[in-house]
């Protein structure tokens, strides 16, 4: 990318950032809350993408890590009195550890077997959270209600105050930018290439010296950690956790987000998050009686039009528009079957 190009990209990024900062003051509280959730989901989808998109390990259970992160935050805030921002690293670390442990069975299982194993995990979590013996901590079926954190200072823009929802939005935005930057750093260098190598040619990767078991477990851990942080942010935003908020359907939703956004893509996570947050609402508006049928039609339609996700389509358009920039061979996207 030459310097003129780079200048445009930086300008574009700054404009986007400025828009994101101004946005919450232009819309109502509920919209701010929805945008907040989009950011949260973007982190979760990014986490799953690291595992499934870049590393080819399929997980139908990332909702479990989201739930664990959420509950970690809730328990620490409610029972241990920790401030909300301090719960994030703990949630991330706990989920990293658990994800790392998942790496061991994941190594032996692949494809559909791993899908089933992670699916079992996703199913287990709500049941475990309702388990009577740990109700003291988890709040059982009722869950835990949290206090929304108050903004540390007052501020007004366009006649709207910096209230709790808006403050949380900025907090989440900051964390999101940090997480995305972390992921970008991690994935663009040796680690990113190693991930793709393990996904596409595991035997060759081992022959090149990559310690497969350690690597796969670490990937799982990092992926789970990201989703755990997302879960904690989500808990803070919603100010409530309960076992039934984290059903298997959440895990499926994250996978939908990954594929719609585009596998092995960092910006794709944002498109995926926008889809999973807003399309159900749109479907609901189209048909009150069978909204999920409309959602399903959207899903299938998307896959017809953009089988490689939004980012896949944007990439293709980019190459067509600039024929000079030919697609590099060793693309970080999985080959079609």
């Amino acid at each position: 990318m030459n310097t003129a190009h780079r200048r445009w990209v930086w300008l574009g990024a700054l404009l986007v950032l400025a828009a994101l900062i101004v946005l919450p003051f232009l819309v109502k509280n509920y919209r701010v809350f929805q945008f907040n959730l989009v950011l949260v989901y973007a982190i979760a989808v990014l986490g799953l993408n690291i595992l499934t998109g870049y590393n080819g390990q399929i997980s139908l259970g990332h909702g479990a890590f989201y739930a664990i992160g959420a509950y970690a935050a809730a328990v620490l805030m409610d029972r241990a009195g920790l401030p909300y921002w301090a719960t994030l690293p703990v949630a991330g670390a706990v989920c990293f550890g658990l994800g790392f442990l998942m790496g061991f069975p994941a190594l032996r299982l692949g494809g559909h077997y791993l899908a089933l194993a992670t699916f079992a995990l996703a199913l287990a979590i709500p049941q475990l959270l309702k388990y009577k013996k740990i109700e003291g901590w988890t709040g059982g079926v009722q869950g835990i209600v949290l206090m929304k954190p108050e903004p540390p200072f007052t501020f007004r823009l366009f006649g709207q105050a910096l209230n709790a929802d808006r403050w949380l939005y900025f907090f989440t935005l900051a964390v999101t930018v940090l997480m995305f930057w972390l992921a970008w750093n991690l994935l663009r260098g040796r680690v990113g290439r190693a991930l793709v190598a393990v996904r596409d040619h595991p035997i060759a990767a081992t022959a090149m010296g990559i310690n497969l078991p350690m690597f796969k477990s670490l990937t799982f851990g990092v992926s789970a950690g990201f989703t755990g942080v997302a879960g904690a942010l989500g808990a803070i935003a919603v100010a409530f956790v309960s076992p039934d908020s984290f059903t298997v359907f959440l895990s499926i939703t994250f996978l939908v987000g990954v594929v719609i956004g585009g596998l092995a893509s960092i910006p794709g996570a944002i498109f995926g998050a926008i889809f999973i947050q807003f399309v159900p609402n749109i479907a609901d508006q189209i048909s009150k009686s069978a909204p999920w049928a409309i959602y399903g039609v959207f899903l299938i339609g998307f896959m017809y039009l953009m089988p490689t996700g939004v980012m896949g389509m944007l990439r293709k358009a980019w190459w067509r528009w600039r024929p000079g920039a030919a697609p590099p061979t060793g693309q970080a996207t999985p080959a079609s079957q």
Binding site: L116, F119, L123, G296, I300, P307, S336
Partner: protein
């Protein structure tokens, strides 16, 4: 001891259902290398159609056969119209399409037939000759029906020209084309058969668990587990896996952990077995050549 045996036999009866669902999954997997996650919802939808026919006065077996035929046609059309465009797309794209189908069928079932739980009749009345000490009449009847279906399938694949063509198309689609087999249509027929099997499984299980749009969700999961346990490429393994899962579920629920966590524990056990034997109990161990 009696109670223990009853749990086992009841587990076997359930296992028949799981095995059938597993078989449907394996059939589609062998032909397409995809797991049809929408299998359960399609089966539920078929069962609703049967229910509607019976409600409007059809005799049971008439409705049964009509539903099987409609489901076959439906499965075939789903493959031809909805799945064909993404046949060559990446695996995860197909997964999303299956998820889409899943929610569409589930949602349509709820919309057309409502969410209220319905009773579904059994063709094997309580007080009948079929009743034995350990099995209820319906359990015996459904085992017989499922075994008939399984043997019919076996005969179809083994002894008919189309069955042979389908096996060939599933194993080696390129060579199949070179002998003139219309591979695409074979896939469609495979889907039709899987849908028909699912319909039968649904109609056999509905009298026990009652009919509502989410009836097959848990059963699909057990079917999936059974298919993997038996080896995803092995139809006999799928059936056997079904029996194992059925018995395991019952024994765990009765003696180990109680009904709330039995799904979790069953799955954890299955995952444990798979970790030890990654290609399933009866699956082929594929040696990867560098």
């Amino acid at each position: 001891m009696d109670a223990f045996l009853h749990q086992i036999f009841s587990g076997l009866a359930n296992g028949c259902i799981y095995g059938s669902v597993a078989l449907a999954l394996v059939m589609i997997y062998q032909a397409t290398h995809h797991i049809n996650f929408a299998q359960g919802e399609m089966a539920t939808f078929s069962t609703f159609i049967a229910w509607a026919l019976i409600q409007s006065g059809w005799p049971y077996w008439g409705a049964f056969l009509a539903t099987v035929a409609i489901s076959f046609a439906g499965g075939l059309l789903v493959q031809r119209i909805i799945l064909r465009p993404v046949e060559r797309a990446p695996v995860l794209t197909n997964v999303i399409v299956f998820i889409g189908l899943l929610v569409i069928f589930n949602s349509l079932a709820g919309w057309i037939f409502e969410h209220t739980i319905k009773a579904f009749p059994s063709p094997f009345p309580q007080e009948s000759l079929l009743r034995t000490r350990f099995f209820s009449a319906h359990e015996v009847g459904s085992i017989v029906v499922m075994l008939c279906v399984l043997f019919a399938l076996y005969a179809f694949f083994r002894y008919t020209p189309i069955g042979l063509a389908m096996r060939a198309a599933a194993q080696n689609p390129d060579s199949a084309r070179l002998v003139g087999i219309r591979v695409s249509w074979m896939l469609a027929v495979g889907w039709g058969l899987a849908a028909a099997i699912g319909a039968v499984a649904g109609m056999m299980v509905a009298p026990i668990v009652y009919l509502d749009p989410n009836m097959m969700a848990g059963i699909l999961l057990y079917g999936f587990a059974a298919a993997l346990l038996g080896g995803i490429d092995n139809p006999w393994g799928a059936v056997l896996g079904g029996f194992i899962v059925g018995v395991l579920e019952n024994l765990l629920g009765a003696y180990v952990i109680g009904t709330e966590l039995k799904l979790t524990v069953a799955l954890v056990l299955i995952v444990g077995i798979l970790t030890l034997k990654p290609s399933g109990l009866f699956g082929k161990h594929v040696v990867t050549r560098v």
